[in-house]
């Protein structure tokens, strides 16, 4: 995966965007849209909703870019907005019941870099893990993805989801218990 933080152009684009340069922000959005969409797909479990989340997150980022102080990297800041939008829109969608969770979202991609036996085992584990993730409650899945996949701290998660740090820890703990249960059942 390309690390945009190391890209000097990104800083330049961020600075120009903060001054209201829409073309620069468009370029930034194009650079990050795949990763934002991936995060949205994982958080919502639905590609249609994820597309909505991605677009909404990019628009919100444009609105707020003037307030971006650069304390974190631009991508981290953008992911935080995405997580927040996904949380809000998914909640709304759940109330309206218009979107269905797609377990196929979490299906593994083939990994042919390791030897076939190890790759096979990993693929199987990923498949079971994917199915287990799809089974988790939304609140638990969100915390697992942000913490274990994206490596956020509990403090960052609590800020993005407007929950307490303790709630984030409790959700992660319960999610791990449930994941282990589901993996055990699947094996």
């Amino acid at each position: 995966m390309r690390d945009h933080r190391l890209d000097p152009d990104v800083n330049e684009l961020v600075n120009r965007s903060r001054e209201g340069d829409q073309a620069a922000f468009g370029e930034l959005a194009r650079l990050h849209q795949h990763e934002v969409y991936t995060l949205a797909v994982r958080l919502t479990g639905d590609r249609t909703l994820a597309a909505d989340v991605t677009q909404e997150a990019l628009i919100r980022a444009w609105r707020a870019i003037g307030r971006f102080r650069g304390d974190s990297s631009f991508s981290t800041w953008l992911y935080r907005i995405t997580a927040n939008v996904a949380w809000t829109l998914k909640g709304r969608a759940a109330r309206q019941r218009t979107y269905q969770l797609d377990a196929m979202i979490f299906q593994p991609q083939a990994d042919d870099r390791t030897n076939p036996e190890v790759a096979g085992e990993r693929t199987e584990l990923r498949a079971r893990l994917g199915a287990a993730l799809a089974e988790l409650a939304r609140s638990q899945r969100t915390v697992v993805i942000l913490k274990d996949v994206y490596g956020w701290s509990h403090k960052e998660i609590s800020e993005a989801l407007s929950i307490s740090v303790t709630a984030s820890k409790v959700r992660l703990h319960r999610a791990h218990l449930r994941l282990r249960e589901l993996l055990k059942e699947a094996s």
């Binding site: 995966m1 209201g20 829409q22 922000f25 468009g26 959005a29 194009r30 849209q33 795949h34 990763e35 934002v36 969409y37 991936t38 797909v41 994982r42 590609r47 597309a51 991605t54 677009q55 990019l58 628009i59 444009w62 609105r63 707020a64 870019i65 003037g66 307030r67 991609q109 990993r122 584990l125 990923r126 893990l129 697992v144 274990d148 996949v149 994206y150 490596g151 820890k169 992660l172 703990h173 791990h176 218990l177 994941l179 282990r180 993996l183």
Partner: protein, 135 residues
């Protein structure tokens, strides 16, 4: 051994057994890596069940971490929404109007309604003969 560890039964756990403390051991691992407090680590080293459970947990966390590198290509250009300069420019902080938060609006509306109802009730009671002052 600390009082907490003794209370948890760590001092009585057979070294090779199906361990009822696996959950407790793994609880220590929830906060990030698998770095456990010394007491739990000593126990884990002697307990096959805990070792197996920790290995499973490690594999699970490793697979979750590996998901980070998988990127879903966008089905279409997601930046299209930004190409309506009139709508989006108006949203930019430099140019946008100050909008009132929806929660604040609801709270103010509720407060005004309650105050109006209160005023009506008070006015009626003031006119009521029971509480009217004798002249």
């Amino acid at each position: 051994m600390s009082r907490l560890a003794a209370r948890a039964g760590l001092d009585r756990v057979p070294r090779i057994a199906t361990c009822g403390l696996t959950r407790l051991v793994l609880h220590g691992a929830e906060s990030g890596g698998i770095d456990l407090p010394p007491v739990l680590e000593r126990h884990r080293r002697g307990c096959l069940s805990c070792q197996a459970a920790t290995a499973r947990q490690r594999r699970m966390l490793a697979e979750l971490g590996a998901m980070r590198n998988q990127v879903e290509p966008v089905p279409y250009d997601m930046t299209a929404g930004l190409e309506y300069p009139v709508e989006v420019d108006a949203d930019h902080p430099a140019e946008q109007r100050r909008s009132i938060n929806r929660k604040t609006t609801t709270a103010v509306a509720s407060a005004v309604s309650v105050a109006a109802i209160g005023a009506v009730v008070l006015a009626r009671r003031m006119r009521s003969p029971r509480i009217r002052r004798p002249t």
